[in-house]
């Protein structure tokens, strides 16, 4: 999950990877033994609930609306997309 | 006219990834040519830190065409690290496996990869110049090829459990003895295989006169030859000691224990290729150019040791001389070896003790270093490992047949290109000959994943600055 989030914040992720993140987070929540594990994906769920548009901006428009993330150049994103799988 | 470079990339109908570049000088003649191996595998690094018992199977993954030869060489290196004597039946079963592998690989090389050039012609339509084209023109030749390859593959499958990458060869011997039913089914297939091998050899001998020009320009030059021989001079495939002879029959080295390979073979890395070039140390680089594989094996051995193959060998020497020097004759030598290997398999499996269940010796790590050698279909293969006291691999070095032949392949490419290519009006058939000379060596570029003959060939003709002048595509 960290890896996927990191890729999103660097502008390297695709929409498929966001879906991957959501399914992974759901799995971790549902199958964990203790509250710590069950709660660990909560930041992902709450940010997705309230700020999904910002996630999409990172992925589709290659910008960080809050100006926090340092995006990799677009060419790197294309190359990373090709090399990811 | 400015300097030009012709690039053939990728080279087709070989096992692996490679390209050829041909540099033309100002008057359009071939100035230089190189054979580049563009893939990098790194098995010597991957094996570090692994248990020595995994090595035969791990190293077999280098190649899907000749995994068995790697397994045998690797297992022999491991035998030495364990300090064991492999039970005689274990040695023989490994030998059968390696011979079966040579039959199937030679069949692949000759029928699938090279027979399209020989049968249909070097200048024929490239779209039809493949095994399917061969099957259309002379179905029985194609059938023989498929059947011989299957014969070899089925032996491997019966002995090792599967056709590719069987985990049967282990340090100390083999993991499971042979069953009577398996032996019987292999023996039952031998007469048919033998008949097909002889039929192909006869076909080749009938037609060899039509390739005189290629014979003369497909890497015809004096060099050294190296191969394994048994005591007494019979050709050896899984055991034996190294012998090196030159083109006039001088024995440069004989009875060389493979452990001493470092004293005789030097390795150099050329900037244009990932493939190491090996040379015969006493003569230095590049004078110590030598060849291995079928042609070299027949040159170093006094005889093969089976009557039918020795009769063919006598005829071969009568036609070509005692030490044939053209790489074109790899094809001829390969076909004789198929005949020989089938007869040796027959001979070994007919022994009464072959079902003996004692096929493996076990031991702990007793030495920290081991060298193993075998004859792969394409030539001498050396595995050399160093392990720590717990049996974890610390260092590995592999000297592969295609590396031995690297210098010779480069020289052959240059010779063929000089003869066939003049100016930038390059015809497809000319370039095909440059590729075909590489196919003579049946180089195994440690690669198992490519559909044969399916890769597009693209030739770039560039001027001295590297800008593209012309592009020819198949």
């Amino acid at each position: 999950m960290y890896r996927l989030l990191d890729r999103i914040t660097r502008g390297l992720a695709s929409a498929d990877e966001l879906a991957e993140l959501e399914s992974l987070a759901a799995m971790v929540r549902d199958t964990s033994l203790c509250g710590l594990g069950q709660g660990s994906p909560n930041p992902v769920f709450s940010t997705l609930r309230y700020f999904r548009d910002e996630y999409m901006a990172h992925i589709d428009d290659h910008v960080c609306p809050a100006g926090v993330c340092k995006m990799e150049p677009r060419e790197a994103a294309v190359a990373a997309g090709e090399g990811a799988r | 006219m400015a300097d030009k470079t012709i690039v053939i990339e990728p080279v087709t109908r070989i096992e692996g990834h490679a390209k050829i570049t041909i540099q033309l000088n100002e008057s359009g003649e071939v100035a230089d040519a190189h054979f580049h191996v563009t893939q990098f595998r790194g098995f010597e690094r991957i094996s570090q830190g692994r248990m020595v018992h995994e090595m035969p199977s791990l190293m077999a993954r280098i190649c899907g065409i000749c995994p068995v030869s790697h397994m045998v060489a690797s297992a022999k290196a491991c035998d030495e690290i364990l300090g064991v004597t492999v039970p005689p039946v274990g040695v023989r079963l490994r030998r059968v496996l390696n011979l079966a592998q040579i039959v199937q690989s030679h069949a692949l090389s000759f029928f699938y990869l090279s027979s399209p050039d020989l049968l249909l012609g070097f200048d024929s339509d490239p779209a039809l110049r493949n095994l399917v084209g061969v099957a259309r023109q002379t179905p029985e030749l194609a059938r023989d090829g498929v059947a011989l390859r299957r014969f070899g593959q089925r032996i491997i499958e019966r002995l090792g459990g599967k056709r590719i990458h069987p985990a049967w060869v282990v340090p100390g011997g083999v993991s499971r003895p042979l069953e009577a039913s398996e032996r019987d089914s292999i023996l039952a297939e031998i007469p048919d295989a033998r008949e097909r091998a002889h039929r192909t050899l006869d076909w080749y001998k009938k037609n060899v006169a039509s390739w005189t020009d290629e014979v003369a320009h497909f890497g015809d030059f004096p060099s050294l030859y190296m191969g394994l021989v048994h005591e007494g001079g019979n050709a050896a495939y899984s055991d034996g000691l190294l012998r090196v002879v030159d083109s006039s029959g001088w024995v440069m080295a004989d009875g060389v224990d493979p452990r001493a390979y470092g004293d005789y073979l030097g390795e150099t890395v050329e900037p244009w290729s990932y493939l190491k070039s090996t040379y015969f140390k006493p003569l230095g680089y590049p004078a110590g150019i030598y060849r291995v594989g079928p042609l070299a094996r027949l040159n170093v051995a006094e005889r093969l040791g089976t009557p039918a193959a020795d009769a063919e060998l006598a005829e071969y020497r009568e036609r070509l001389g005692r030490y044939p020097s053209s790489s074109f004759h790899y094809h001829y030598a390969r076909l004789i070896e198929i005949v020989h290997c089938i007869d040796v398999i027959d001979h070994i499996l007919s022994r009464s003790d072959i079902l003996d269940p004692h096929v493996r010796a076990r031991a702990e790590i007793n030495r920290n270093e081991g060298v193993g050698v075998s004859e792969a279909p394409r030539g001498v293969l050396i595995h050399h490992y160093k392990v720590d006291d717990d049996g974890l691999v610390e260092w590995a070095n592999l000297v592969i047949a295609t590396g031995h032949n690297n210098l010779a392949m480069n020289r052959s490419v240059l010779q063929t290109a000089r003869h066939y290519i003049k100016g930038d009006q390059v015809k497809e058939g000319m370039l095909n000959r440059v590729e075909a000379v590489i196919r003579c060596y049946d180089p195994c570029l440690s690669c198992s994943t490519h559909a044969v003959g399916q890769m597009p060939l693209q030739v770039d003709i560039r001027d001295a600055e590297g800008s593209l002048l012309r592009q020819v595509s198949r």
């Binding site: 890896r3 991957e20 399914s23 992974l24 799995m27 549902d30 199958t31 964990s32 033994l33 069950q38 990811a84 | 830190g49 692994r50 248990m51 018992h53 995994e54 035969p56 199977s57 791990l58 993954r61 990458h165 985990a167 282990v170 340090p171 993991s175 076990r362 702990e364 717990d390 049996g391 974890l392």
Partner: protein
């Protein structure tokens, strides 16, 4: 001790008080995939493969450590559960370096069996490819951390049955590793009795007998008299 009745996969079944869902399911021939569970050892619910849906519970519950209750309605197989299980096995594969083709346990491996059973044909997640080591200092056995799934069967068998407690786990998350004693080489351990039980219970090729080559691992679990052979899967 009283008998409780419940339904698993729509079937009416019964079990003793204190029994687990996994026990009752297996007694009734209902298969639930497991990895860290081994009959004869205590259960830790670590691998999460046996999670099931229980009606009225929001959470998924691990069948191996969930006691049955009167009137419980349990679902063992659903689309969601299968997807989760497949993902769990995928995470196990991608976390270390599992290369079946050169593994001593090839074709004799519970992780491999699970991948086949759950239809895991490829990985969507990237491989972590950690640099994990092999400890071959022990005279007879070795451990290849590349192939360890941290099921802790070895830790439990060593502690609960042999009574040596040589094995334990050090580190967290992807850094977690099995250790012998206080993290010293296995060959230097003075608590290890060299009984080999850990090797016999290992579901993968992580713990192996030295001298065995690829696909030669043989787990002799029936010979451990105190352990019942791992049931539910035919070898």
């Amino acid at each position: 001790m009283s008998v409780l009745t419940l339904t698993i996969e729509g079937r009416d079944v019964a079990g003793q008080t204190g029994g687990t869902i996994l026990q009752v399911a297996r007694e009734n021939g209902i298969a639930i995939p497991t990895l860290c569970h081994l009959q004869g050892l205590s259960d830790v619910g670590a691998c999460r493969l046996c999670v099931v849906e229980v009606e009225g519970q929001r959470k998924l519950l691990p069948a191996c450590v969930t006691a049955i209750d009167e009137g419980m309605k349990v679902t063992v197989n659903s689309e969601r559960l299968t997807a989760y299980r497949r993902r769990i096995v995928e995470l196990l594969f991608t976390e270390r370096n599992h290369v079946c083709s050169v593994c001593v346990a090839d074709r004799n491996c519970e992780l491999q069996d699970l991948a086949v059973e759950l239809g895991l044909t490829h990985f969507d997640l990237p491989l972590l490819s950690p640099q994990a080591s092999v400890d071959a200092t022990h005279e007879r056995f070795g451990i290849d951390h590349n192939r360890c799934v941290l099921c802790t069967r070895c830790v439990r068998v060593c502690d609960e049955i042999e009574g040596a407690h040589t094995w334990d786990v050090m580190g967290r998350g992807t850094e977690a590793r099995l250790i012998t004693d206080m993290g010293i080489p296995w060959g230097d351990s003075n608590t290890c009795t060299s009984c080999g039980k850990c090797v016999q219970v290992c579901p993968t090729g992580a713990l192996f007998e030295k001298g065995r080559s690829v696909a030669e691992a043989r787990r002799r679990r029936p010979y451990l008299p105190y352990l019942v052979a791992h049931e539910g899967r035919t070898r």
